[in-house]
């Protein structure tokens, strides 16, 4: 099993979660080191988004979550954010009735006024296309622009770990590259990224390590420089080494 050489930032062990009666995750173990990009891959319905929600506290969970040396197993999303664990949820859920600028400001709610103003500008600088529309209400943005706005919100607090849930969904290829490039810049600045992504090729190009999730369990863990990774992933996806083979 490949072990990250870096100092661990997020450590998850024995994590289970679900929606009401429906259990989705089963005893997940996962680690993200400081300043690395980890891709979380897997077929639709495998539980990737659920895993992020369970880590950030948006869903009730059992198991252990340690972040930056702190036990975060039972904390609220707000505690997570304050500790530097920021989760950009899937589906570009920005506040459509507020302006772009207000949306970004809210991401720093509770910060000192002057500091916040600087952080907002800094975050907006990542996506000039969004910054241009700072005084437009978010409802006027396209789906892709809303997604960029959501990522912008995630940058305001200078998180230690940014969890991005399908940031490429609904984006044209050019914009996908722009968003993922932002993730790379963050890594260079020392921020770790946990990335849920459907575009495997792009994810593998960007990430340092990869986990594959299928049917609520981790079925593969690897560093991205290992050979034959796409093939192994496909096997893990279709569960050939887990259940019945394809007809």
């Amino acid at each position: 099993m490949p072990i990250s050489g870096r100092e661990p930032l997020l450590q998850v062990s024995g994590l289970s979660a679900g929606y009401g009666k429906i259990g989705v995750l089963n005893g997940i173990d996962l680690t993200v080191g400081k300043g690395e990009i980890v891709a979380l891959l897997g077929p639709n319905g495998a539980g990737k988004s659920t895993l992020l929600k369970a880590v950030s506290g948006l869903l009730p969970r059992t198991g252990k979550v340690t972040f930056a040396g702190r036990d975060m197993s039972t904390t609220s999303p707000r505690d997570a954010v304050n500790a530097g664990l920021v989760h950009v949820v899937e589906g570009h859920r920005v506040f459509t009735q507020l302006t772009v600028h207000e949306n970004v400001m809210l991401a720093g709610y509770g910060m000192a006024r002057r500091e916040l103003a600087g952080r907002v500008e800094e975050a907006l600088a990542f996506f000039p296309e969004i910054a241009e529309k700072r005084n437009d209400r978010a409802v006027t943005l396209s789906g892709g622009q809303q997604q960029m706005l959501a990522v912008t919100q995630g940058l305001v607090r200078h998180p230690k770990l940014l969890m991005l849930d399908e940031p490429s969904a609904g984006l044209s290829p050019v914009l996908v590259d722009r968003v993922l490039a932002a993730a790379a810049r963050l890594r260079d600045a020392g921020t770790a990224v946990l990335l849920v992504e459907q575009l495997i090729e792009k994810a593998l190009n960007l990430a340092d390590r990869v986990y594959a999730l299928a049917r609520g369990t981790i079925v593969l863990e690897a560093t991205t420089d290992e050979p034959d990774l796409p093939n192994r992933l496909e096997h893990a996806y279709f569960g050939q080494d887990v259940s019945a083979p394809l007809a």
Binding site: K21, I22, L41, P43, N44, G45, E90, G91, H92, T96, V139, T140, L141, S142, G143, Q146, E166, A169, G170, E197, Q198, L199, I200, E201, P230, L233, E234, Y237, F238, G239, S243, A244, L246, A247
Partner: protein
């Protein structure tokens, strides 16, 4: 349906002969107590009993609105007020000539029925709070009018109530009149409650979209129930006016509404005996605890708060011992596709269900962006794509929940209307849901029977009076539901409360419910999610068998192996657009599909 008698193990009847007696024992005791009460010769107790009967006449109808349909009608005392003043004013000749008291009472019922429908109108399309507010507002208005319209109501001074002639004259004669009407109200509402109408009401409450998909017309059904509940409230009002002998607006306090309401909540939603007992107890309680009278409304309100916060299911839920018995732990779903010949009509004709040029956006987000799709009889058509690619949205357009901004849907060339989901059942288009939409508190059998609602022939009034056609309906639906359950392998669980089932079992239960329609087209939304590998294999075989008997199947699924295994054709969506379409083999080798869907 053929008569090849494949053995279907009947579930142990939840209430056999003894069980039925157990169920009616309380009614027999109540009935006898009511009949024999006059022997006590205690007119004080007699008056309390009459008041309880009158309240129950109203609450029995309200129970269908609140307990069954789940509509929060908190101001139903207005029906009592309206019925009381109508009866009193007509009988006293304050409007035109004096009416005979019985005619005046009937008029009170009619007024109640009309008011019930008017007050209920917002419930047909609006959220719960609006309806609650409408009933509350109506009771405020009715009281204001009663105070202001002095010619008819006597204003604050009041007006005398009607006096019924012998044999129902004041005293024990009137007592038996009230008793009889309470018994009648009980019987009629129990008939409705145990019929397809009652099941549909509960389905509207707990699983509205599933009810619509089963062909339940919410508006029509609710209007009938509001009419019945209003009429019973109006009749209760006429009786109340007679019992009070003199009525003023003060007599109709809002606290009575609260009493009716909490009696139903305490008694338990979807029960009739429970609310009846609770009505009697709550009516009598303050009489025997004099110091409490002043505080009774406060106590009722506190009770209401406690019930809502602590036991929203009511006391009936607490006492439901039958459903505490543990179920067998390691249950296995053994489907029996061979029974399908008896479940489904043999569709030999070729049908097509199609969408062309569908576009739909939510705000600035394009959910579907020009989609064409065609499903044919006897085929399994797979619909796959990444999250958010518009699969379920497409299904919701096809089944009539959404209205697209462009494009149309057709069945055999005939245009399908949008936003009329309940009309799909008549066209034999059935579906299941990504998250099973079920009535948790009802038995599995009842849940499945909801699927056959459109095959019932008896009218609401026939059901009210339990006429033969209604009883035939019930027998047929029950038989068909057991067969459908046997087909999906759940017949052993027919009598179990649906919310005790495992998630995978609920998926099969939804399929059984959809099969009740004998569908020409069946649309399945991720039926394999949460199933074990073995269950998925059986599901696949069942779906294939369904399609081979002539039904067209549209299958949304994430399990690629299932899709490639059983589909005849596959359509791949990405970003609301068709990315590719073809046979499974073609799709597997499609480069773009592999990159969009498989991601590699």
């Amino acid at each position: 349906m053929t008569d090849t008698a494949a053995p279907i193990s009947q579930p142990k009847a939840p209430a056999g002969w003894l069980g039925r007696l157990e169920g009616s024992a309380w009614w027999i005791v109540l009935g006898l107590a009511g009949l024999l009460l006059p022997l006590l010769e205690d007119s004080y107790i007699g008056v309390i009993a009459q008041r309880a009967y009158i309240y129950w006449v109203l609450s029995a109808g309200l129970n269908l609105v609140v307990g069954y349909a789940g509509q929060i009608a908190i101001g139903w005392v207005s029906m009592l007020t309206l019925g009381a003043y109508t009866t009193a004013a007509l009988a006293a000749g304050r409007v035109g000539p004096e009416w005979h008291p019985f005619l005046a009472l009937a008029a009170g019922g009619v007024m109640g029925a009309v008011a019930g429908v008017v007050v209920g109108l917002p419930a047909l399309r609006l959220r719960t709070f609006y309806f609650a507010m409408t009933t509350l507002g109506f009771s405020t208005i009715v009281t204001q009018v009663a105070l202001a319209w002095k010619d008819v109501t006597g204003g604050g001074v009041g007006t005398p109530g009607p006096v019924f002639p012998w044999p129902f004259d004041p005293g024990w004669g009137f007592y038996y009149f009230c008793f009889f009407l309470a018994a009648l109200a009980t019987w009629m509402t129990a008939n409705i409650g145990a019929s397809r109408y009652g099941r549909a009401l509960v389905a509207i409450r707990d699983a509205e979209v599933a009810a619509e998909a089963s062909g339940v017309s919410k508006a029509r059904l609710l209007i009938l129930v509001f009419m019945l509940a209003g009429a019973l409230g109006g009749v209760a009002g006429g009786l109340f006016a007679s019992l009070q002998s003199y009525i003023t607006p003060d007599a109709f306090t809002f606290e009575m509404s609260v009493l009716f309401f909490i009696a139903i909540l305490i008694g338990g939603r979807g029960s009739i005996l429970g609310p009846a007992l609770a009505t009697i107890i709550l009516t009598a309680l303050p009489e025997f605890a004099a110091p409490l009278v002043q505080w009774s409304t406060f106590l009722y309100a506190t009770l209401l708060l406690v019930i809502v916060l602590v036991i929203p299911g009511g006391i009936a839920d607490l006492l439901d011992f039958r459903n505490r018995r543990p179920l067998e732990k390691h249950r296995e779903i053994v489907t029996r596709p061979e029974l399908l010949a008896r479940v489904l009509d043999r569709h030999s004709e070729k049908n097509t269900l199609s969408m062309t040029g569908i576009e739909l956006h939510f705000g600035g987000v394009r959910a579907i962006d020009g989609l064409d799709l065609e499903v044919r009889s006897g085929e399994v058509h797979g619909l796959i794509g990444p999250n958010g690619s518009g699969k379920t949205t497409a299904l919701n357009v096809l089944s009539g929940y959404y209205k697209p901004h462009a494009g149309e849907a057709r069945l055999n060339g005939a245009v399908l209307p949008f936003l009329e989901a309940h009309t799909r059942a008549d066209r034999r288009i059935a579906r299941t849901f990504q998250t099973p939409r079920i009535v948790g508190g009802a038995s599995v059998l009842d849940n499945v029977m909801i699927g056959g609602t459109i095959f019932g022939q008896a009218t609401f009034s026939e059901t009210l009076l339990s006429l033969p056609r209604h009883r035939r309906d019930e027998a047929h639906l029950r038989e068909a539901a057991l067969l459908a359950l046997a087909t999906v392998g759940l017949e052993q669980l027919a009598a179990v409360r649906a919310d005790r089932l495992q998630h995978s079992e609920l998926r099969f239960m939804e399929i059984a419910r959809a099969l009740m329609l004998r569908p020409a087209f069946l649309m399945l939304d991720e039926p394999a999610a949460g199933l074990s590998a073995e269950e998925i294999r059986r599901l696949g075989a069942l779906i294939v068998a369904i399609s081979r008997s002539g039904t067209g199947v549209l299958l949304i699924e994430h399990h690629a192996d299932l899709i490639f295994d059983i589909c005849d054709r596959v359509t791949v969506l990405n970003l609301g657009k068709k990315l590719a379409a073809g046979t499974p083999a073609e799709i597997r080798s499609h480069r773009e599909v592999v990159s969009a869907y498989l991601g590699a």
